[in-house]
Symmetry: C2
Subunit: 84 residues, 2 copies
Amino acid sequence: MPRFQARVLVQLRPSVLDPAGEAASAAAQRLGVDGIAHLRIGKAVELELEAPDEAEARRRVELLSDRLLANPVIENWTLELSQS
Amino acid sequence: MPRFQARVLVQLRPSVLDPAGEAASAAAQRLGVDGIAHLRIGKAVELELEAPDEAEARRRVELLSDRLLANPVIENWTLELSQS
């Protein structure tokens, strides 16, 4: 059975406040790191998956992302899939 | 001043237990998504940065990653930098 590598990046929707990102931005300035804008903190989920083909692998990870990894009300997600 | 896009991916070191990842794996099976292995959950930090050149932009984000975004004792990080 072919094996796939998937990376799902889950980010808060742009309209949603990101307190963690704002706290990190403030801390960056205290560290003396200038010029930072729009710092957003999200989730990076990496996984391996055995599936008959790429379409089936994509279908499974999309189901996982919609139902488990991301909260569709406040988050968007993107999927990077490659065969290992 | 040139503008850069940075993405810092922070992952737990392979030797460190990932309870959130394990919980997500178990939930994936309950959802009926089979074939998943090595599911790891980390952080994805996206930011924009104004800096005189790419080397300075890289230096600043590396400092930020080492001192603020990742805990070097239990986490590794990787940096993707591009000029916008």
